[in-house]
């Protein structure tokens, strides 16, 4: 299984009437995570978040694919 680039947010067992809701739930939580943090603290929080998620994903081929996309066109 390669990197999933389709919308993949949701909670098990929850039915969403509007397709955008789980993505918006995630995005709000992400912005909320940074509330009251300084810019430096936010950089640290983002770094930690990436490390935690990378470990959870684990599969290095998926991670390499994501890292390649993340660098593109900057």
């Amino acid at each position: 299984m390669g990197l999933n680039l389709n919308l993949n947010f949701g909670e098990p067992g929850r039915r969403y009437a509007r397709a955008y809701t789980p993505g918006d739930d995630f995005y709000e939580a992400l912005i909320e995570m940074h509330r009251d943090l300084s810019d430096e603290q936010s950089v640290q929080a983002n770094a930690r978040l990436i490390l935690l998620l990378a470990n959870h994903i684990g599969d290095l081929s998926v991670l390499r694919e994501a890292m390649a996309i993340a660098r593109q066109d900057l």
């Binding site: 009437a17 509007r18 993505g23 918006d24 995005y27 912005i31 940074h34 810019d39 936010s42």
Partner: protein
Amino acid sequence: MLSTYQYQKFEYRPPRELGSGTPVRHPVVVVGAGPVGLAAAIDLAQQNVPVLLLDDDDTVSVGSRGVCYAKRALEVLDRLGVGQPCVDKGVSWNVGRTFFRSEEVYSFNLLPQPDHHRPGMINLQQYYLEEFMVKRAQALPSLDLRFRNKVVSVRVGDDGVALQVETPDGTYPVEADWLIVADGARSSIRRMMGLEAEGKIFMDRFLIADVVMKADFPAERWFWFDPPFHPGQSVLLHHQADNVWRIDFQLGWDADPEEEKRPERVIPRIRAMLGEEHEFELEWVSVYTFQCRRMGKFRHGRALFVGDAAHQVSPFGARGANSGIQDTDNLIWKLRLVMEGRAPDRLLDTYSDERTYAADENLLNSTRSTDFITPKTKTSLAFRNAVLGLARHYPFARALVNSGRLSVPAILADSPLNTPDEAAFAGDMVPGSACDDSPMRAQVDHFWLLERLGNRFQLLVYVDKPGDVAQADALQALMSGPLPVDVILVTPAGGRSPHGFRVFEDYTGRFAERYDARPGSAWLIRPDQHVAARWRVVDAKRVRQALARATCNPE
């Protein structure tokens, strides 16, 4: 001021109560003749409930203000008899495009499904909507619409409401059994009652310019993040009737509203956006800020708050007027049943429960859009731009782009008025949802399902053939009594009912598809076209129980 619209002054007539000193008691007084107050008054009057509608002004909304009217609001306006002129005059659109800097990153289509009467959204200047509604209101004998009648005091008691109303010829007292408060975001009734709407103000300013131009842009919603012609901010373009285009520029909190409204400032901004080749005329300019807030509850005894007086949202998503019109859709049938003694008073509490739930959904979605459109920190701006950058190539990021989640009806799935499902159904028509439309036929007569729903409880029974009705006698008995249920057979076959029921032929199969219908299935529909209950096997006793539940009556 406006070159495309001629403002009509509505006639003020001195009220006959002036000078008599004795207040006349009205069953219902509605304060505020904007779209929401007009909707409430028309809904009551067309059901023969006498209603007095007071407005402090004598014209329609100045400037185009509200622009987008969504499918559900149009369906309510259809029920009120003003949907067609709105759709005829308005610009229908379904496609929205989103641009980041100079590239398109994402587009959506509001209504990918065929066979709906109304489009996903129309754009129409608010003054046209109000004009059509005033015309309808003035044609209703039970509706007394008084312009330049300003409520200057209000006292809400246990069994009624007392008002003082100021006119150019003096002040007079009015009494009412019920008061519907539709006097807008700065509701003076709310203030006089010492009530508040709580929430937050957004630290940003927006410039609205309505311009007249002949341009061959398609009828679509275009939204720019950080465009070259307005760097660092957002811009929205909408097409309205009469070749009027709405342009909305984000300005930032530090902008000076008076300075920004000057044509010398506005015209170069628009020219930068449209290019030199398009000639245009400025029609209306305004600078606004907005708040997201609502009252704790929308019912205070005999006073019922609707629309912006009860709740305010950011404009992103068109959830203001659309939700206000849905407030009245929810309220009026309940008020009528309570007034007629056919339902207990606490049915009106469910107006507040259901519509505060809907308001919270609107507030949540419009706040999220606002946070995406106007990031407040370096980090949120970085995420926002990362989403937009990825959206060009990757579907998951497109779904995160949030330039407004456009108004759709709240699904009142947790409402205590619903009867929970006992059997499995697929699809969206869960109890608490607004009914989906579908084409129907009866003999040679073609119509839309929603044109025949509303204003009373109805039971749709799906059958293979019109003769295949279980419990025909018991279902017929539902059609009489204090809370009659209008029973309609829906069938793929057409034909006549040997039991005398009305028959709708689902000749496209859309009803069966959208409602997940099987022979024997039935749906109890509320007077506001919401599903109250559904069954795989119709049973008159259960219908009566669900009807009692949907009206707060004892089962």
